[in-house]
């Protein structure tokens, strides 16, 4: 018997011998739909059953072929002509081209394949890494907002800003920032107290000064001052990268050991929210490793905020849930009631960010009440 035929029959027989529940588990794994608890079982079965690996292979190829059916490279141009405008794709039917069934293009798959090929081709062109705008564009295009990134954030205030009414300011202010898509959570150690704020998956912004209470602004009621704070204190990479491309002159500062450093200076009349910025990008992975933003007015820097990437990982959803950062029974001040108390908490939170040693409004209130 010919080798490929023998191999094929063996695989076919192997697949027949595979338990149906295992087949279902493998399908669910490939669909990114397998519950975490079942992963361990699947892992053990794959390790103990040699036929299971062949089945996994066969099934992974089937899933891949299904995702790509009709979108083979040689057929791209014909399919594009047939597929019509993107807006009509949902209503399109599969059509026959050269006796084969093809479907309207799955743009994501084709784009991904094209990107793969593009990467392979581009890796031979050394000047790609040296073009800062193109590198920022690629970083923006490849940005994945499903990963969790942890940054160490340092804010250093300029000497001029620490005189007079701002003399209470620390010269440096460290915090830890976790970001996933639009959500973030940032914790500061403010004079021994843990100051924490975040934005949840619904877009609501919340903050807590003592973990005994929390103020919440729903996405539709976020005041301008709070929005401004979100923009300058947290790192929403797509917004920043878009602003770099749209508003700034970009210059390559250095490129060493796979890390490119790019400096950005806003063009005259642009709406950029910084005086200048510096960004470090890993050219292989397109990960943003460091961002430094200088803020201020009249061309004088008042504060420098630097975000240094500590880790890229996957954390539990509860990280971005305010309940994980509050004590049990914490008071909640939202838009429903006690608006005044929520406004006071917001003021206190801002004050703590500016002058960490400021007395708590609540403690001063309590002492007034007791006297």
């Amino acid at each position: 018997m010919h080798r490929s035929e023998a191999g094929f029959r063996r695989i076919e027989m192997g697949a027949e011998m595979i338990d149906e529940s295992l087949k279902r588990q493998i399908d669910r794994w490939l669909d990114d739909d397998l519950p975490e608890a079942d992963e361990v079982t699947l892992c053990q079965t794959l390790a103990s059953d040699p036929e299971a690996i062949d089945f996994l292979c066969e099934r992974a190829l089937l899933h891949q072929a299904l995702a790509n059916s009709g979108a083979f490279v040689g057929e791209i141009s014909e399919s594009v002509c047939e597929a019509g405008p993107i807006e009509q794709r949902g209503e399109s039917r599969w059509r026959s081209v050269r006796g084969r069934v093809v479907r309207p293009l799955l743009w994501g798959t084709v784009t991904a394949a094209a990107i793969g090929l593009l990467i392979v081709s581009m890796a031979f062109v050394p000047e790609v890494g040296a073009n800062p705008a193109r590198l920022v564009e690629r970083t923006l295009a490849e940005f994945r907002d499903t990963t969790d990134r942890c940054y160490n954030v340092k804010i250093e205030f300029g000497p001029a800003f620490r005189r007079g009414p701002f003399s209470g300011r620390q010269a440096r202010f460290d915090s830890e920032l976790w970001v996933r898509g639009e959500s973030f959570i940032q914790t500061f150690d403010s004079d021994g107290q843990s100051l924490v704020w975040g934005r949840d998956v619904r877009g609501a912004v919340w903050f807590s000064v003592t973990a005994d209470s929390v103020a919440i602004f729903e996405a539709s009621e976020i005041p301008a001052a709070l929005q401004e704070l979100c923009d300058v204190r947290t790192l929403h990479l797509p917004t920043l990268l878009e602003s770099l491309l749209r508003d700034c002159e970009l210059r390559s500062v250095s490129s060493d050991r796979g890390i490119s450093t790019i400096s950005a200076r806003p063009r005259v009349g642009s709406v950029a929210k910084f005086l200048n910025a510096e960004i470090e990008i890993e050219t292989d992975s397109l990960l943003v490793r460091r961002v430094t933003l200088q803020r201020g007015g009249d061309r004088r820097a008042t504060a420098t905020t630097s975000f240094v990437l500590e880790q890229v990982t996957s954390v539990d959803d509860s990280m971005y849930d305010m309940r994980s950062h509050l004590r049990e029974g914490a008071e909640v001040f939202d838009g429903g009631a006690r608006l005044r108390r929520r406004a006071e908490l917001f003021r206190e939170f801002l004050q703590r960010l500016r002058v960490p040693q400021a007395p708590s409004l609540r403690s001063s209130q309590t002492s007034e009440e007791s006297s």
């Binding site: 279902r24 669910r28 089937l62 059916s69 392979v120 890229v312 990982t313």
Partner: protein, 182 residues
């Protein structure tokens, strides 16, 4: 490297990559959970292949070499930043790559057979496949779209895939008996 040689090398590499990309994608999908991680890894593999193409020995199968790179990237991916345990141990990843190379022999014929088999699917099943793979909907989204439950969608998709796999096997077996092994 002269311009002419560089262009030849690039063309050779692009040709190899085009032939290997689908099995490499399938390999990563079998070893790594989330869609976005799979895409990230594929691009890392593509970059490494490009950077290290001069190390590739043309006497050996390109897919085996590309899968060896993919295997290292998958191991790095799991080890970086305390991710969940690997679904496939390092040894199993090796065995999985060998299986993928063996399947490559029939991959293009199976893909062609799949196109014929898809034509024969009932409209409802075809629409389910379209939603899942071409519109990129997940199980819950498909269930919502067809007003069914996720469990029922899973069962339906499983049956369709089983039917397609059986159809492909039959077509390949009949090709072998009609024309002899290719």
């Amino acid at each position: 490297m002269s311009d002419h040689r560089e262009s030849e090398t690039r063309e050779r590499m692009a040709r190899h990559w085009l032939a290997a990309e689908q099995p490499v994608r399938a390999y990563i999908a079998g070893a790594v959970r989330s869609f976005s991680d799979r895409e990230d890894l594929l691009q890392q593999v593509a970059l490494t292949v490009a950077r290290r193409f001069d190390e590739y020995d043309e006497q050996r199968p390109f897919l085996a070499w590309a899968l060896w790179i993919a295997k290292s990237r998958i191991i790095d991916h799991y080890r970086a930043g305390g991710r969940r345990p690997q679904l496939l141990s390092d040894t199993l990843l090796e065995r999985y790559a060998e299986s993928m190379v063996r399947h490559q022999e029939t991959f293009s014929r199976r893909r062609e057979a799949l196109e014929d088999c898809l034509e024969r699917l009932p409209e409802r099943s075809r629409s389910m496949i379209q939603r899942r793979y071409h519109e990129g909907l997940n199980i819950e989204q498909i269930a919502a779209a067809v007003r069914s439950t996720p469990a029922s969608v899973r069962v339906t998709l499983f049956r369709i895939r089983e039917a397609l796999a059986a159809c492909i096997d039959r077509k390949l077996a009949s090709d072998v008996s009609k024309w002899g092994p290719k």
